[in-house]
């Protein structure tokens, strides 16, 4: 299988797109390490789903807002496995409101989880990826297109994509490829948090050339493809997965 013997860490890997990514890597033979913030029930449910299909899955609770918890997370992985082959930074949060109404703390929290955490994870993963590895960040179309009430997350994703490119260059000498997958409109609980999401979705759905909304599995498939050896010469790329919406 494609990822047999590989150790994969998925941040925010217990729900929605993160769960689909965890399941995909499990399906393709990897040992999956699921990082989650607080929801133990969802994490255990993900673990059950993966274990049921024969995947070795371990849960790692860590709050990526705290740099020391990121160090502890990678430290535990070092103890448990001695290495990490693939890191998927999917964890994200944010607030849906007009950009001009954002408070400093809301901006900071969004930037720190969505973007700064990738930097700190990458730094801490260097020692775990001595034989090379892969890092893939999950972004969204809001990084370069204006979506109402999406300013906080959109800006953090723009910074994330820029960070991916810098890391791609700086980590290349360590044999680590860094890329991102940018999702369009994906059916998930998150999208329901956007004010007037039903109106927005009905308008957008008509504009998607693929004639359907994205599914978490569409993202997971793209992440797995980008992480595979078939893409071994792709560095610092932002792979757009949106059914053609941005065209």
């Amino acid at each position: 299988m494609m990822f047999e013997g590989k150790i994969v860490l998925v941040t925010g890997g217990s729900r929605g797109i993160g769960r689909a990514i965890s399941a995909k890597f499990g399906e393709l033979g990897a040992t999956v390490l699921v990082n989650f913030l607080q929801n133990v029930e969802a994490a255990e449910e993900t673990q059950r789903i993966l274990q049921k299909s024969g995947t070795e899955c371990r849960l790692y609770q860590a709050n990526l807002i705290h740099p020391h918890e990121i160090r502890e997370l990678t430290g535990k992985i070092a103890e448990d496995f001695g290495k990490l082959d693939i890191l998927i930074h999917n964890a994200a949060l944010g607030v849906f409101k007009p950009t001009l109404e954002l408070r400093a703390n809301q901006w900071d929290l969004t930037m720190n989880i969505n973007t700064r955490a990738l930097l700190l994870l990458a730094k801490n993963c260097l020692g775990l990826m001595k034989e090379g590895g892969q890092i893939i960040a999950i972004s969204s179309l809001g990084s370069h297109r204006v979506i109402p009430n999406y300013g906080a997350i959109g800006v953090s994703k723009a910074a994330l994509e820029s960070l991916v490119k810098y890391l791609a260059v700086e980590m290349a000498e360590h044999g680590i490829r860094v890329n991102a997958v940018s999702g369009g409109i994906i059916e998930s609980d998150t999208i329901k948090k956007i004010p007037e999401h039903e109106k927005m979705l009905s308008e957008v759905r008509e504009k998607i050339p693929a004639k359907r909304m994205g599914r978490p599995e569409d993202m997971a498939n793209a992440v797995a493809a980008l992480a595979s050896d078939l893409c071994s010469w792709i560095y610092g790329h932002i792979l757009v997965v949106d059914g053609g919406l941005s065209l």
Binding site: V95, N105, Q106
Partner: protein
């Protein structure tokens, strides 16, 4: 309580709330409702929890500030009726348990 007094906890919490919510510490009272009266939104509750973790060196599990389900008015979430006192009580309990 790991070197903390009740007044000290309240003062530290007031500064956390004031800094996060961009409000004056003077308006923060134990019976202030964090969302309705101090202007916190859901994401701020998360931010405040993270700041408390750092300031008091404690872990805050999900729904930690929740009240009993039977005390939540219909159509409201636990966060919506959260008071400063409820957060204080939680911090004290955690510190006493250490």
């Amino acid at each position: 309580m790991k070197g903390w007094t009740e007044d000290g906890i309240f003062e530290a919490l007031k500064h956390i709330l004031a800094d996060a919510l961009e409000i004056e510490t003077a308006i923060i009272q134990p019976d202030s409702m964090v969302m309705k009266e101090l202007g916190a939104e859901s994401i701020d509750i998360l931010d405040i929890a993270f700041r408390i973790e750092t300031r008091f060196d404690i872990k805050i599990p999900e729904q930690a500030f929740s009240v009993k389900p039977e005390d939540i008015p219909k159509g409201k979430s636990a966060n919506e009726i959260l008071t400063v006192q409820a957060i204080l009580d939680f911090i004290k309990n955690r510190l006493e348990g250490q």
